[in-house]
Structure formats: structure tokens, C-alpha cells
């Protein structure tokens, strides 16, 4: 160390007010103190004022009875507590936000790509959509969609059915096909998890084998086969062993299964009456199978629809349709239960026309059955056993246990002045969902467009030079890279959608804020309700951000 050192002043001579590290710590301490003082002041102020005005600061009101109705959502009755009412609101908020986010993502990607399209028409349509929607306040759009579009749809019996799909749009909302989980669903889910674990194990084993022997093994093929086999076994096992469902029928009917209703239905078709109406014998002979009857009914309805029939003839056709209609099987069940959906879908599967006569409670349903209103009573085994016990002559009725698959496809079907089955969206839910999705997608589409433009031109050129076509280029090169630019701003849009769902209050959809406002009015616990609002939205937003940040890290580019 004897070499000539440059002139450096001795260390340790820095006074603390010039030491950047010390200054940093001091700054943070001062800031923290200020925040704590501020918060203490606010909270103290609130507590003192609350006490002066006799406001209660506890959350005990959550356990008192709400005494108001909520139009839609999970199970809830007016006798439930405020806490339960708010929970219904939370679930409704989550439901509309979750579905909204999925639809927004799809629409935003389509509109964003369309905006970059070289096709003049597509490009202009996307531009007009984005410019109009993002420049009008969401509240105005919600009013427009709700009052001017959905409430102006035709009444239920004239439901709009776009493209002949099992979709029904009317002023009482939308009915679409849905999936209904039954008692066996969790068990089937366990089978699916088991299948995934097995497939992954199989994949690892085969990969090792492949590496060892050097011979390619059809890993995808065996994985798919294994998965399908296990899931299918799970389906049948669950269907056969986990049902808690039953139907009650008159013993004299001799019913062992839903299939046996076919005989009853066919017997009930009054062929003599049809013969009297002049139906040919050859035609009558074909009416020995439900499929043929359904086809014949369609034929008659179509003939009636052409308008080329005389008054006399149309009367005749209507009479025939009435006779066929009278043969239908009537189900008594509690509205929107698995029992109802299962019975109706099982019979419809056999092409037997069904009329569902439903009530809100098992008690009333049982009474309707006892009065002889229907051919069968559908419910759970326990419910039906109880109902049977209070029948006048229990011996003349029997319970038949029926199997239920873990998932039932629940397709809506028009039935007189109503739409039966399916997943129903209320006009309020539909309006809110459509409004949120259209509005948020307009902004998100611009984010998608920016993300795509952020991928350098060289990437496109390299993809083209390699001979990739346009859709491969988009899927394999552009979108995966655009994603990392898109995700952070997209996260804010998802959060916006969730928070904007509170505008539901304007069109009376019972989301958290709408329900909360009622709770607040009825109970008077304004501050607590607002604290709950904040806590719920904060939790939703933070968990969403956490998930998307994790995803963003996952898709980030690896760099040195």
C-alpha cells in the first residue's frame, strides 16, 4: 500500500444531515408519523361523532333479519339476515364481473384485431363501435340497453329465437342452455382430478421411456385415451350410485324407470279421436313411436304456419294438435330444482312431450300431486318419502329411485306462456352485463391494438419470410408477444369493469351496492355498510391484480 494513492478525503467525516442513507430513513419515519396522526385523527373524530349522534359502531346488525326481498341471486328469503342479504349482493357482483371479464376479453381481442384489419368494412365497423361506445357515459348506455332495448323485446310467447338456436330473448330476459350440477357432481370432479394426476404420471413415465429407448411414443394419444376412459367411468359410476333423486307415481302405472313413460304416453294418444278427424290409417300406424309423433306434430305445425290452409282445415289441424298435446306427461316439481330439470330432460330425451307444473315449495307441489294434477312428482328421495307419508292413501303410490348424471344439460323450451328450463338471465342482469362488456371492450380493444402494434415489424417480416400464413403469424408470433404489453393495462380494465358493476343500482340489479343501499336504509348502519363495500371491492381488486401480476411474470420474456 505504499504506492501513491490519489487524494481521497478521510472517510467517516460525513455529518448525518448530508448522509443520503440517514436522510432516507428520516424521511420515511416522518412520513409514517404523519400518516398515523392523520388516520388517528379521522378515526377518533368518527368515533366521537358517532357516539354523540348515537350511531352504533359494531357490526352486530348483520345478524338481524333483513325483511326485504331480493329479486335474484343465490338462495335467500326475506326472513334471512342482513349479512346474508349482503352476501347475495357480493355473489351477484362477482357473477356479473366474472362473466363480464370473460366476454370482454373475447370481444376486445376481436375488436382490437378488427381495428387493425386491412379490410375497409371490418376496420370501419370496429372503429365506429369503439368511438361511439367509449365516448358515451356508461350510465347512459345502461339506461338505453335496459329501457330501450331489453324491455322493448317481444313478450314471452313471441320470444325472439336468433338463428333457430336454443336461445330465447324476450322482455322477461334471456333463456340460454345451461349446465346444472347435481349431487354427484363433486364426486365426478374428483374423478377428473384423478384422471389429470394419472395422465401427468403416465406422461412422465412415457417421456422417460422415450428418452431411454429413443423411440417416439404416442404420448398425446395415450393421455387422451386415459383421460376419456377415467372421466367416462367416473360419469357412469356417479350416475349409478350417487343419486338422491326419486319420482313418485301411482303404483297402478307400473313404472320402473323414465323409459316406462313411453308406453303411457303412446296409450294416451287418442287414435280414435284422430281417426274421427279423418287421419289416414297409414299415418295412424306410424304414430306408434314418440319420434314419429314428434315429426308428425312438426309437420302439422308447419302446415299451419304456411297460411295456405282453409279455415276448416286449420280447425282440423288444431284439433289434432290438441289431441296430441293432451297426451303429454305432466311433472310436478319445485321450480328450478335438479329434480325438475332431471325429470324434464329425461323425458324430453325420449321425445315425450312434457308439461312441467311447478310451485315454489315442496309442500304446494305435493298438494298439487295429491290433487291429481300430474303424472309424477319429482323430488329428492327424502322429500318424496315425507310427502308420501302424508298422502291419503300412501299404498297406492310408490317411490321410484332414479339416476341422475353429475351434469345435466339444461336446454330451454317454450311451453305456452313461459320458457321452461335453461339458464335464465333477468333483464337487469342482461342489461348490466351487455353494458359493461360493450363499454369495457371498447377501451380494451384499443389496448389490444396497441399491444399488437408494439410487436416490431421485423417479427412480422420474419414470420412471413418463413412462410407462416396470416393466422399462424397472429397466433404464434404476434399475440404471445403482444400479451405482455396488454396484460398490465388490461388488468386495470378488468378492475374498472368490476367497480363499474356498482352502476347496477341504476337499473335495479341487486349487486352489492344496490343491496347495501337497502340494508343501509333499513338498518341505519351507513358507515359499516360503506366499510363493507370498500372491503369487498378492495379484496376483489387485489386478488385479481395478484393473479394477473403472477400471470404477467409467467409470460414475461426471458432476458439475460
Amino acid at each position: 500500500m505504499a504506492t501513491t494513492s490519489p487524494i481521497i478525503k478521510q472517510e467517516a467525516a460525513i455529518p448525518f444531515w448530508r448522509d443520503v442513507r440517514v436522510l432516507g430513513v428520516i424521511g420515511q419515519i416522518i412520513f409514517t408519523i404523519l400518516v398515523v396522526i392523520g388516520l388517528t385523527w379521522f378515526i377518533r373524530n368518527f368515533l366521537i361523532n358517532a357516539e354523540n349522534q348515537g350511531l352504533q359502531t359494531s357490526f352486530s346488525f348483520l345478524n338481524t333479519t333483513a325483511a326485504f326481498d331480493i329479486a335474484e341471486g343465490i338462495e335467500y328469503e326475506a326472513t334471512d339476515t342482513f349479512g346474508r342479504a349482503l352476501w347475495v349482493g357480493v355473489i351477484n357482483t362477482i357473477r356479473v364481473s366474472f362473466i363480464g371479464i370473460i366476454l370482454t376479453t373475447i370481444l376486445a381481442v376481436v375488436a382490437g384485431i378488427a381495428r387493425l384489419s386491412t379490410n375497409w368494412l371490418i376496420n370501419k365497423i370496429a372503429t365506429v363501435y369503439i368511438e361511439i361506445v367509449r365516448n358515451i357515459p356508461l350510465l347512459v348506455q345502461l339506461f338505453f340497453i335496459y329501457f330501450a332495448v331489453i324491455l322493448k323485446l317481444p313478450p314471452v310467447k313471441d320470444s325472439v329465437q336468433p338463428f333457430g338456436l336454443p336461445l330465447f330473448l324476450n322482455q322477461r330476459g334471456f333463456a340460454l342452455p345451461g349446465l346444472t350440477a347435481t349431487a354427484g357432481f363433486p364426486i365426478w370432479l374428483a374423478f377428473i382430478v384423478l384422471a389429470i394426476i394419472l395422465v401427468m404420471t403416465l406422461w412422465t413415465i412415457q417421456s422417460r421411456q422415450e428418452e431411454r429407448t429413443g423411440e417416439p411414443v404416442n404420448k398425446i394419444g395415450s393421455a387422451v385415451v386415459a383421460f376419456i376412459v377415467i372421466v367416462a367411468i367416473g360419469w357412469f359410476v356417479t350416475t349409478a350410485f350417487t343419486s338422491n333423486q326419486a319420482i313418485m307415481v301411482a303404483t297402478s302405472r307400473n313404472i320402473k324407470d323414465f323409459d316406462d313413460f313411453e308406453k303411457i304416453y303412446l296409450l294416451r294418444v287418442d287414435t280414435d279421436a284422430l281417426k274421427d278427424l279423418g287421419v289416414e290409417l297409414a299415418t295412424l300406424d306410424t304414430l306408434k313411436f314418440p319420434d314419429n309423433i314428434a315429426a308428425y306434430k312438426d309437420e302439422l305445425t308447419a302446415k299451419l304456419g304456411t297460411g295456405e290452409v282453409s279455415a276448416e282445415e286449420s280447425e282440423n289441424i288444431e284439433a289434432q294438435l290438441d289431441i296430441l298435446g293432451d297426451a303429454q306427461i305432466t311433472i310436478c316439481s319445485v321450480e328450478d330444482t335438479v329434480s325438475e330439470i332431471n325429470a324434464a330432460s329425461q323425458l324430453r330425451r325420449l321425445n315425450i312431450p312434457v308439461k312441467v307444473s311447478n310451485e315454489k315449495s315442496m309442500r304446494k307441489t305435493g298438494a298439487a300431486y295429491a290433487a291429481g294434477d300430474c303424472d309424477l312428482l319429482a323430488g329428492t328421495q327424502a322429500q318424496l318419502a315425507a310427502e308420501r307419508a302424508i298422502l291419503e292413501a300412501p299404498d297406492t303410490h310408490e317411490l321410484v329411485d332414479v339416476s341422475v348424471p353429475p351434469l345435466i344439460v339444461n336446454t330451454p323450451a317454450p311451453a305456452g306462456f313461459n320458457i321452461q328450463g335453461g339458464t335464465k338471465l333477468s333483464p337487469e342482469f342482461a342489461a348490466l352485463l351487455i353494458g359493461l362488456v360493450l363499454y369495457t371492450s371498447a377501451f380494451s380493444a384499443e389496448i389490444v391494438r396497441a399491444g399488437i402494434l408494439a410487436v416490431s415489424k421485423g417479427q412480422t417480416e420474419a414470420a412471413r419470410a418463413l412462410g407462416l400464413n396470416e393466422s399462424q403469424r397472429l397466433q404464434l408470433i404476434v399475440l404471445p408477444q403482444a400479451l405482455r404489453v396488454i396484460i398490465p393495462p388490461m388488468t386495470s380494465q378488468y378492475l374498472n369493469l368490476t367497480k363499474n358493476s356498482s352502476l347496477a343500482v341504476a337499473i335495479a340489479f341487486p349487486d352489492l351496492v344496490a343491496v347495501g343501499s337497502t340494508v343501509q336504509n333499513q338498518s341505519g348502519f351507513a358507515v359499516q355498510v360503506i366499510i363493507i363495500f370498500m372491503a369487498v371491492y378492495l379484496t376483489l381488486s387485489l386478488s385479481m391484480s395478484a393473479f394477473l401480476n403472477w400471470y404477467n411474470k409467467k409470460v414475461a420474456l426471458v432476458e439475460r
Binding site: P216, G458, A462, A465, L466, N469, P480, E559, R560
Partner: protein
């Protein structure tokens, strides 16, 4: 020098305009199978644009280009057919940063040639070995040096087993010490009999490897000759001036 085969690229009076600017002014020339052609010229002369018309990254507006017996016109099928047979290496590498080196190399063979993954990976690894970086196969482009990236880009083009390779200033974005590794890879390729068209400022490569040097200026070919003749005995004034500027 390689044995030269039939005409594989034919340009006949090729014109292109960028708006008012007449960038290609009637290029007429042919390239034979197995030939190595180096294109030199001042910047802005249109040499890059010309080479990019040969696989339709740029559209020509007049004249005729025939590549491997297929005419480049507005028929999408012809364009795709030609792009399959013509590999291209860019100045900025243009590797796909979200894919590993091996995925970069096998992407087009799998999705365009429709080869099985096994076959594509086998050929991809062969090409990576050919450019001497098989050990980088599972890294991402961002983890490689510029020279390594450009060699991956060469392997990526080669994995399609093209008949023609186009190089658009492949060494211009590289640090000097990395230029050699890329030029070595190109030289090996040339010696294997590949048809090559390269826009480059590497005069050593032009002199040592090319069958023909094309001097390009103001949207057209000024002079084309075998390298020795070209460098030692240029005819045109423009060529002499250019060479005097770059060969100090």
C-alpha cells in the same frame, strides 16, 4: 467454385415505386442454382428493397420475377410456395423472443412444412450444429450474443431446407469480433452448394466466396462481374468511385 445449375431466380425489368420515389428502375438479371451473388452499393440505392421483392416482403409493381419456376404475382399460393423455398436472414436477426432457440428453429418446419415435432427437432438440431451453437438450443434469444443470435437466424432459415438463401446485411448490426463467426457460417453454406444472394459490406466475403458481385446504385444494377475482375478492374465510373471510398 461450385458447378452452376439452371436459372433459379429470374428478374425481368422489375420496377417498384414508394409513392413518387422510383426505387427499383427496371432490374434484369438471372441467378443460377448454386451461385453465390453478393450485392454491394451505397445506402439508399434500393439493394435491400430488391432482395426483399424476391420473397414478396416488398411488392414489385412492374416486371416479372420468377423464383424456382414459380412466378411471384398476387396469387397467395405462389407466394407461400416461394417463401417455403426461400430462406431469409435479416440485419436485425428478428428472432422470436418468446420462443427458445430450438422452438425458433422448428416453428416453421412444424407449422409450414407440417413435419412431425421429432423430425423438425432432429433437423433443427442438425442446423444448430452446422452453425456451431447446439448447446444454446434451450436458451432464449435474449440470452445470446448478437453473433449467436444471427447464427440462430441462419439455422432457422436453413431448417426449412430452402433452395435459396437471402441475406439482408447480416453482419451490419454486429460487433466487429462477432462478424467472423457469422461470415464463417455463410461461407460454409456457400461451399455446400446453396444458392445465396447477400447484401453486404463485407468485401472480404465478396472477394473470397462470391461467384459474382453486383454493384447496385439508384435502383438499378450498374455493373456485375466475377469478384476478381470486379475489384481489380471495374469499368463504370460509379463503381470506381464507390470502391475508392470503401477500400482505403
Amino acid at each position: 467454385m461450385n458447378e452452376l445449375g439452371n436459372d433459379i431466380i429470374i428478374c425481368n425489368d422489375v420496377h417498384k415505386w414508394f409513392g413518387e420515389f422510383h426505387v427499383l428502375q427496371g432490374i434484369t438479371t438471372t441467378v443460377k442454382e448454386g451461385e453465390v451473388v453478393v450485392i454491394i452499393g451505397p445506402s439508399g440505392s434500393g439493394k435491400s428493397t430488391w432482395i426483399r421483392t424476391l420473397n414478396r416482403l416488398e411488392e414489385h409493381q412492374k416486371g416479372q420475377i420468377i423464383v424456382d419456376g414459380t412466378e411471384l404475382n398476387n396469387d397467395l399460393r405462389n407466394i407461400q410456395e416461394i417463401r417455403r423455398e426461400v430462406g431469409m436472414v435479416f440485419q436485425q436477426f428478428n428472432l422470436f423472443p418468446h420462443l427458445t432457440v430450438l422452438q425458433n428453429v422448428t416453428l416453421a418446419p412444424i407449422h409450414v412444412r407440417r413435419w412431425s415435432r421429432e423430425k423438425a427437432e432432429e433437423i433443427g438440431m442438425q442446423q444448430l450444429e452446422r452453425v456451431k451453437i447446439p448447446e444454446q438450443a434451450y436458451k432464449y434469444p435474449g440470452q445470446l450474443s448478437g453473433g449467436q443470435q444471427q447464427r440462430v437466424a441462419i439455422a432457422r432459415a436453413l431448417a426449412m431446407q430452402p433452395k435459396i438463401m437471402l441475406f439482408d446485411e447480416p453482419t451490419s448490426a454486429l460487433d466487429p469480433e462477432m462478424i467472423k463467426e457469422v461470415l464463417d457460417a455463410m461461407q460454409e453454406l456457400a461451399e455446400s452448394g446453396m444458392t445465396i444472394m447477400a447484401v453486404t459490406h463485407e468485401m472480404g466475403f465478396a472477394r473470397g466466396v462470391a461467384n459474382r458481385v453486383i454493384f447496385f446504385d439508384q435502383g438499378n444494377i450498374v455493373e456485375e462481374k466475377p469478384p476478381n475482375e470486379f475489384f481489380d478492374n471495374p469499368e463504370e465510373e460509379r463503381t470506381k468511385l464507390f470502391l475508392s471510398q470503401i477500400l482505403h
